[in-house]
């Protein structure tokens, strides 16, 4: 054997520089935008602290077992998702193809969300922030109408950023500013994944650690803001009655599942670059626990800021009412303050009820402001940006916030791209003479061109569609087949032996029971519940239509049939590969048996591959 000293590869496979890089990559992949903008929302609407109970139960019985399964699989088989499932059983090749397909679909739209983050980031360098003021209308007599009726923040998001059309069928035009930002985002992704894990391993040091720094800064600043305590109390007050609602358990299970980025194939790709003798059990528990702790840690500054925003809104409401009362009754300035507002109101109501009624005062209720719960892009681009305007030094806070969102998203993108890149590299689509850099460049270029569709006027509606249908249901199906495949086709006894060879100890009873029974059962229940809930109501969406009577409320519209067909296609496309590949292989086997030159397939095991 000629060993070349410079290249640290034994079997031609790249390696992580050290264990920390690998753990950090897995954590970065798992910790994404959902930890910041979905988990706090779920906590809020599902009874605060009480939500943690189903969350941790789902983590223990669904999240950690599946995570350990994927990491052990990748480490043992040392191949990307397609190759790994092909090795387990050629009938299960479809599982690998399905997860590869999901990674492709998710990469397409996920980077467009990062485009929006980048757009806001580069707009945060202005004084005043562009989403804090309404532009003037055409003849400069007043503010722009659309902006005036909704808020300047809404206007900047829906008009200046998305230039959204009122309907999903109206495509609108390509927004050139979004195309520029999209090109920049894909260029960043290419820069970091250009040579696979050699480059992402270096980039991950920054992108995985930086969000924690910013979260800490926001935590300290958020806790000093007025109204932060109200927000936190509102978030964490447990309401145990909500646990009776099965929806809560379903949301907890799906949140854990999607939060850990299972069934994407990215985790299998990451662990396939590990040395075979590595404690994947400890890694799995570490990654899962860090992910959950990050969700909790992130919800504290988010809710401090939301409490601050609600309190400021409440004070504004009070102040407006106070001004109108003072104007009406000609009372001296500063006679009514926020503290004695209620006393004054009751006094005036009893003495001059008609005048008070004539004023049509808006009722100010802090709870109502706190109840305005938002998740997803609404939280980041509307609610948080509004809160940032109210803070002193808003440019700095906006810049920090958007860099943090960008880092969170890009480290998840690394995992997605790895899930696409590694199987393609192994399938040897391109001849060996062509360098890796070209393959990653081609992947990024193709994804960029397809993602141009999301920069149309109706782009954000399509991203919602992709997110709800391509990024949810197929993952459940693939994960279910993953567990069944390993537990019953590969057989748990063999798998336990492999894990014992890798970690040095046999997986204990907890793993045996969860892998064999609990996780598949839970996944099946979650899948059935999910599908039932989806089918119950016709899929609808909320459109931003300035001509709607109820504007600035969003208009509820139903998807037209051709869009619904696309939704179904997106959900089915990755899943259909599972039976299709099995069928394909069955036909191939039957043909081979007829040929009588039948070679029995070799029995595979971890030790055999690596001795």
């Amino acid at each position: 054997l000629a060993v070349s000293p410079e290249i640290p590869k034994e079997d031609g496979r790249p390696k992580w520089d050290n264990k920390f890089q690998y753990i950090l990559s897995c954590i970065g992949f798992a910790v994404g935008l959902g930890n910041v903008w979905r988990f706090p929302y779920l906590c809020q609407i599902h009874g605060g602290g009480a939500f943690l109970i189903p969350y941790f139960i789902a983590l223990v019985f669904e999240g950690i077992p599946l995570l350990h399964l994927e990491l052990a699989l990748g480490q043992c088989l040392r191949k990307g998702s397609i190759g790994a499932w092909n090795t387990i059983s050629p009938y299960l090749r479809g599982v690998g193809v399905g997860s590869w397909m999901v990674s492709v679909l998710v990469s397409l739209y996920y980077n467009t969300i990062l485009t929006w983050v980048m757009w806001y980031f580069i707009n945060s360098f202005q004084e005043p922030l562009p989403w804090s003021v309404c532009p003037l209308n055409v003849n400069r007599t007043g503010l722009n109408e659309e902006c005036y009726e909704s808020t300047s923040v809404n206007y900047f998001w829906y008009r200046k950023t998305l230039n959204i059309t009122p309907d999903v069928t109206e495509s609108g035009t390509l927004q050139w500013w979004l195309i520029l930002c999209l090109a920049a985002c894909w260029a960043i992704v290419y820069l970091c994944t250009i040579r696979g894990i050699e480059t992402t391993g270096k980039a991950i040091y920054v992108t995985a650690i930086f969000p924690y720094l910013v979260l800490t800064i926001f935590l300290i600043h958020g806790l000093t803001l007025p109204g932060a305590t109200e927000g936190l109390v509102y978030l964490f007050t447990p309401n145990l009655n909500t646990l009776k609602n099965p929806r809560v358990w379903l949301d907890a299970a799906t949140q854990i599942f999607f939060s850990l980025s299972l069934a994407f194939g990215g985790l299998i790709a990451f662990s396939s670059y590990n040395p075979p003798k590595n404690d994947c059990e400890k890694d799995a528990v570490t990654v899962a626990v860090v992910n959950c702790m990050t969700s909790l840690y992130a919800s504290i500054p988010v809710f401090s800021v939301l409490g601050f925003k609600a309190t400021t809104g409440y004070w504004d409401c009070l102040d407006r009412n106070i001004i109108r009362i003072i104007n009406e009754f000609d009372l001296p300035e500063e006679s009514i303050m926020r503290q004695n507002y209620t006393a004054w109101i009751s006094f005036l109501n009893s003495s001059y009820p008609e005048k008070i009624d004539g004023l049509k005062l808006k009722s100010c209720d802090l709870q109502e402001f706190l109840d305005q719960s938002v998740s997803g892009t609404g939280l980041a681009f509307i609610v948080f940006t509004q809160a940032v305007i109210l803070m002193p030094g808003s440019q700095a806070w906006a810049i920090l916030f958007f860099i943090m969102l960008f880092s969170l998203g890009i480290s998840s993108m690394f995992g997605n791209i790895e899930g696409v890149f590694t199987p393609l590299l192994e399938l040897q689509i391109l001849p060996k003479s062509i360098p890796k850099e070209l393959l990653s460049g081609i992947i990024c270029l193709i994804c960029f061109l397809i993602a141009l569709c999301f920069t149309l006027g109706s782009g954000s509606y399509w991203i919602d569609i992709f997110d709800s249908y391509a990024g949810s249901l197929p993952l459940l199906v693939i994960a279910f087949f993953e567990v069944i495949g390993v537990a019953y086709v590969y057989k748990i006894k063999r798998f336990s032996k492999d894990v014992k060879w890798m970690t040095g100890r046999k997986p204990n009873l907890y793993w045996q029971i969860t892998w064999r029974f609990i996780s598949p059962l839970l996944l099946l229940i979650v899948f059935v519940a999910f599908v039932t809930l989806q089918i119950q109501k016709p899929p609808s969406y909320a459109a931003w239509n300035p001509k709607y009577e109820g504007f600035p409320m969003k208009e509820e519209k139903v998807y037209p049939p051709w869009v619904q067909a696309i939704c179904v296609l997106l959900a089915l496309l990755p899943c259909v590969f599972v039976p299709l590949a099995a069928l394909f292989h069955l036909i191939k086997q039957m043909r081979r048996r007829k040929d009588l030159s039948f070679v029995p397939s070799e029995v595979f095991s971890c030790q055999g591959a690596n001795s």
Binding site: L1, A2, S4, E6, M118, W119, I122, N123, F125, Q126, V133, P135, L136, R140, G142, L143, W177, L180, C181, A183, A184, A187, I188, Y190, L191, I194, R195, T199, I326, N327, D330, L331, P332, E333, P435, E437
Partner: protein
Amino acid sequence: YAWDANEEYLFKAMVAFAMRRYSSKSTTQISNVLLCNVTDRVSFWFVVTDSSKNVTTVPGSEVEAAIRMNRNRINSAFLLSDKTLQFLKITSTLSPPVEPSTPVWLIVFGVVLCLIVAGILLLVVAGIRQGKTKNKQSTERENLEEKGEVAVTVENGIPCEALDLKAGHINGVFAADDERFTSL
């Protein structure tokens, strides 16, 4: 500051000043401006009389126009703004937001894009150079091997003479292992 008779005097003076500037005749006196219904809220009605035309009031539209023209002078005299000093029925004209010639975001975007492109070029060039040195080294090794076959017998890339030198040393580990096995 508290609102007292001196402030009222200043207000009358400002209104007279505004009327003088607007109509550009210097006949309006402070005594022509009358305040009434002053409340604690500090709100009041005022009229401007025209002493030349037998104590008739100047039409409201003229007064409104005069005040609109000199609004910022009146505001700064009282250290107030359009929001804190309100004239009913006189809406303030809004100033257009400052728009720099190149949008700021394009500049920032240009900086970010330049950095990214520089990074990509660096990595690609480094990769090509690494590939070239690898090729050079492997061709050098091939050349060595070709030359070596003529003069020196090569075993797995290591010249045999070097191997012979190593053959003299006993590898302690293997010796220990041998001792562990019982001889048949």
